[in-house]
Amino acid sequence: MSSEHGHVPHRGRPDPRTEQHLTPEQIQALEARVKALEAVLVAKGIVSPATLDELASIYEHDIGPMNGAKVVARAWVDPAYKQRLLTNATAAIAELGFGGLQGEHMVVVENTPTVHNVVVCTLCSCYPWPVLGLPPTWYKSAPYRSRVVIDPRGVLREFGLELPESVEVRVWDSSAELRYMVLPERPAGTEQLSEAELAALVTRDALIGVAKVNVKSDRA
């Protein structure tokens, strides 16, 4: 994931550092070592299996884009909520119980058939943590930060998002004072889906604006 070269690092690809082909014996040995460590720490009263599980879940899920996805799904099903979200995003997001550190001063920008929004932080890597979770590596890369401003269509194309010339692309520069999130368009054919099912469709990339929300292929 070098940020030196000119392309935005690919996302969605597994990290090669974890792609180790271990033999079943090696896996067993590692499992045993970890289990032994855990047993010692539990016996010393330092950790409990439940807190370990909870902690891992926090990192897996709370840092994922789940909170932002729930906000989007609510806005799709509840026009009054959507209005509040676009008027005062920080308060509307707080209604769902999200916010806090680095989640204050949120602004939500709406995608329409004629406007596509994309978010960047050119200065550093400001990112609304509690809502969007972990910033992806490419978000902080120099090529993304500089090129999305100069050539947003080209960068979006590298993400696999081809926009017609008729669609206006707006680039929003996040800062410590203002953090942006995109409200993507609700995909067609999702009228029957529940709010929770809709939230499951929303990806982190769509909330940054480098992708659209698609109906999952196994549903189509």
Binding site: M1, V34, L52, D53, L101, P136
Partner: protein
């Protein structure tokens, strides 16, 4: 215990950066998830600072790569194998093990 992820853990850069796919953490096996959580849990409880763990993680990754370079029959350890080695080392250094 804290209810939210800590930026200086989640945002480590360079060789120590957490393996992710589309920004989300990737664990390939339950043991990776357990050892990840153990290292974070003990840091949150003040047994060590995250920098102390990160230094050992970087050292473990570098040592693994060196071994693999010197001996072609050895493969470089995966990220969480290095994590496990660093965590064990830190527990010994801190007198917890």
């Amino acid at each position: 215990m804290k209810r939210a992820a800590t930026p200086h853990i989640a945002e480590m850069s360079g060789p120590a950066s957490l393996p992710r796919r589309s920004g989300e953490l990737v664990f390939h096996a339950p043991w990776e998830r357990r050892v990840f959580a153990m290292a974070v849990a003990l840091c949150e409880q003040g047994f060590y600072t995250w920098d102390e763990f990160r230094e050992r993680l970087i050292a473990a990754i570098a040592a693994g790569e060196r071994r693999a370079q010197q001996d072609p029959t050895q493969r470089a350890p995966s990220y969480y194998e290095s994590w496990l080695a660093a965590f064990e080392r830190l527990l010994v250094d801190k007198g917890i093990l």
